[in-house]
Amino acid sequence: MTGITVVVSILERNGIGFVVVRGEALENSFPAFSDDVDVMVAPSDFERAVRGLRREPSVSYLRMSDDVSRFRVRTDSGQIILDLIDPRGLSGRRSPGAFYEFLESEGSFEKGGVRYARVSVAVYCRLMAPKWASIYIHKVATDVGNGLAISDLNGALDVAELFGEGPRIRERLAAVQREIQLRGLDRPVRWSPEQAVRRE
């Protein structure tokens, strides 16, 4: 089984609803991702999800930092890192569960029986991360270099407005824009990666 299928099977066995966010979610729009799997669960399920994962024989608990609990999951082909994310910090001025409710209903889509965050929602999550200024700003600019559409950056602002985080995200998007310029990623491009020819 691949990393994502192993994770899905473990979470479903424990009766935990979840949405895949960040890298894996972005991959549905452009081919750039890591081997890690990042999933978000409802704030009310977070502690139960951590306990359930810690009981799994194929899962090792690594650590908790900020809003993320990290696990190592053994798969048929090796191991992957699973980050379990508590979304309460993303709800802004609304109730702690508001963001996850939005994520499950409008902010995600289903593919192969798994719910994935929409790209603009995944970008919002990155820009709201506690280490946005030192780390996630670079990741979002790198995403732009890899093919993330500017419209999805603007979409993150629309998501932010729903939670009263518009001013904060607008400021962070301006910082991303400055980095895009610094790295020369704002040069007009006419690339179409699906037409590129790769060697087998």
Partner: protein, 187 residues
Amino acid sequence: MRLETAVYREPGEHPLPREVAIPVAKPTHRPRTEYRLRVQSEDDVDTLRRRRLPLYLLTDERVRELGYLVHFPPRLYIPSEIADDVESPFRVFPYRDADALSSPGVPETVAMLLVSDPIGARVVLRLAVTRIPISEVYRRVVNAGPSVVEMATQMRLQDFVPSLPRIGTPMSAADARWLDRNEPVRA
């Protein structure tokens, strides 16, 4: 005034394949034919590199070999001077240090990543720092230009190459430690 560079065939050189080198209409007073480059495949990159044109296709396979476990579409680095003369379905990154594109090793790859994925640059350098010449990293980062030095500073590459100049503000040491613990690398 501005300096312009273009792609020409050298005297005595065989014609460039028309699939990759498209002659630009030659004004009558110009003795040589200027070319635009069309780079659609990895084979096209190889063809042009054999003609000593310093184009380089950075792939995720290469970066994964260096221990950073990410996937991304290939990135075509080309000398900044000919950036407007290249069309490609690959994402094009104009690059100031053309010499670095000829035969890039780890130091050159670190400097290139500072443009396309600066976090990857720190990860790759950290993993390789004991087995590569640090002076080469210094040279390649500085030669790539001040914006690349600024990205190197933000990524605290001075942790590994203390003599690197500093431009701008580095991330905190605590955040760098967090990054070093959390990025996906080969165990």
